[in-house]
C-alpha cells in the first residue's frame, strides 16, 4: 500500500532522515518508535505527502506520490497533533465539511451517509450535535480519527494517536485500528509506548537519528525484548 525507498530529508544543513525505506501493506499496522528528534514526525509527514523529501521515492496505492501527490492524498489521511477540527462546529458539521472536501471525484454529494457512519464507528453518535469546543481531549482524538475515515481512505498515518488517552482510550484505539486493518486499511503510526505498539502493530520499526535501526514483526518480540532491542539499536546508532 505504502512503499517508501531511500527517503532523505535535509533542513538546511541538518539531516532529519537518511536513507529510510519502509513498506506497509494493506491490512498491516506498522508502529514507528524512536527517541525524540529521531525523525518520526518528519517521516510521517513525508508519507502523508505533507512534506517533500529531499531524495527518495514514495509510492502509495501503486501511484508515484511525489509526482502525483493528489492521487496519494485521496487514499491517505494524516491524523497528527492538531486535531484538524473546527471548535465552533458540532461533530457532525465538522465531518460534513471534511466529507465535502475529501470526497473522491465522481462521488458527487451522494456520500451524505458517510459522516454519520464515521461518527458511529468511533462511538460519538450520541454527541453528534455538540460543539467540539465542549469535547474532552479523548473525544477530540476520536473525532479526528473519524475524519480520517472519510472519503474512502485506505491508509492512516497517525502521529502519536495514543498520547493524551487514558487506559480505556488506548484500548478503544487498539480496537479501532484492528477494525480498520481488518477492512484492508493500512496504518503507520508513531508512538512512544512499547506495550501499545506490540498490542496493536503487526510490525515495529525503530528510528534513531533519521535512520531505521530495527524492523521486525511484533510477534517476534516481547515487551522486554523490544525494550532491549530498542535500547541496543538506539545506543549503537548514537555511537556512530
Amino acid at each position: 500500500m505504502i512503499s517508501a525507498a531511500g527517503l532523505r530529508k535535509a533542513f538546511g544543513r541538518q539531516l532529519a532522515l537518511d536513507a529510510v525505506s519502509l513498506e506497509v501493506g494493506a491490512g498491516e499496522c506498522v508502529a514507528i518508535l524512536g527517541p525524540n528528534g529521531a525523525g518520526k514526525t518528519t517521516l510521517l509527514r513525508i508519507l502523508a505527502t505533507a512534506l517533500r523529501p529531499s531524495a527518495g521515492s514514495l509510492r502509495v496505492g501503486g501511484v508515484d506520490a511525489l509526482r502525483d501527490p493528489d492521487a496519494a492524498r485521496a487514499l491517505l489521511r494524516l491524523v497528527a497533533h492538531g486535531s484538524h477540527l473546527y471548535e465552533e462546529l458540532t461533530a457532525l458539521e465538522n465531518l460534513r465539511f471534511w466529507s465535502a472536501m475529501l470526497a473522491a471525484p465522481g462521488a458527487g454529494s451522494a456520500d451524505a451517509a458517510a459522516p454519520r457512519a464515521a461518527l458511529a464507528e468511533v462511538g460519538l453518535d450520541a454527541v453528534a450535535d455538540e460543539r467540539v469546543r465542549t469535547f474532552s481531549a479523548g473525544m477530540k482524538r476520536r473525532l479526528a480519527l473519524a475524519r480520517g475515515l472519510l472519503g474512502d481512505a485506505r491508509a492512516l498515518v497517525l502521529d502519536e494517536p495514543a498520547s493524551g488517552l487514558d487506559r480505556q482510550g488506548r484500548a478503544w484505539l487498539g480496537g479501532f485500528l484492528a477494525r480498520f486493518t481488518g477492512r484492508g486499511g493500512a496504518v503507520v503510526m508513531a508512538t512512544h509506548g512499547f506495550e501499545g505498539a506490540l498490542e496493536v502493530a503487526a510490525r515495529v520499526v525503530v528510528l534513531a537519528r533519521g535512520r531505521v535501526v530495527l524492523d521486525r514483526p511484533a510477534l517476534a518480540l516481547t515487551a522486554d525484548g523490544l525494550r532491549e532491542a530498542y535500547d541496543e539499536a538506539v545506543a549503537a546508532e548514537m555511537v556512530q
Binding site: D70, G82, H84, L85, E88, E93, F97, L102, A104, P105
Partner: protein
Amino acid sequence: MSRYAGRAWAVLWKDLLVERRAKESANALLFFTVTLLFLFQFALGTDRERLEAVLPGLLWLAVVLSGLLGLGRLFVAERENDCWEALRLVPGDRSAIFVGKLAANVVLLAMLEVVLVVLVALFYGVALGHALPALAVVMALGTLGLAAIGTLFGALTAPLRAREVLFPVLLLPAQVPVLLGAVSATGTALAGRPLADAQPWLGLLAAADCVYLVLGVLTFEFVLET
C-alpha cells in the same frame, strides 16, 4: 453539484457558521466600522455640505479600513488546530477553497456595508432612497474587487510572522484602483445620475474584479503549498 462548487460552498457555509457562532469577533468588527463613522464626523466637523461632498470617499474609506481588519481573519482562523494543513492535504483543485473564502468575505463585507449605508443615511441626514439600486450595483462591484485581493493576500500573509503589518502594506496599494473607481462611481450614484454616467469607472471596476478573481484562482495553489 460539481465537486468544485460543492467544496466552495462547503467552505463558505463553514466560515459563515463559525463567524456566526464566534460572535465576539464579528461584533467587534461591526463596532469598529460604526466607530469609524463617528471618527470621520469628529475629524471633519459638522459642515453638512462638506460632508456630503466627501461622502463617497468616507463610505469607501470605512469599507477599506474595515477590510484591513476583517479580510485576513478567515485564514488566521484556520491556523487553529492545524486546519490549514488539513486543507492543504485535500486532494484535487484547491482553488475552490479560495472561491469559498472570497464568497464568505464578500458576504461579511456586504453585511458591514448595509449597516454603514443605513447609519450614514441616519447620521449625516442624507436621503438615499432614490440612489439605492445604483448604489447597490457600485458597491457590489467594488466589494468584489476589494475582497478578491484581500482574500488572496490574506491567505498569503496568514502564515507569516509579520502578517499584521504586511497585510495592510501589500493590500492598500493594490486596492487603490478599486478605491478610485468605487468612489467616483458612488459619487455618480449618490447624485442621482444614471449609472451610464459612471463609465468608464464601472468598466474599470468590472475589469479589475475579473483580473483579481482570475489571479486569485490561478495562484491560490501556490500560496497554499507548504
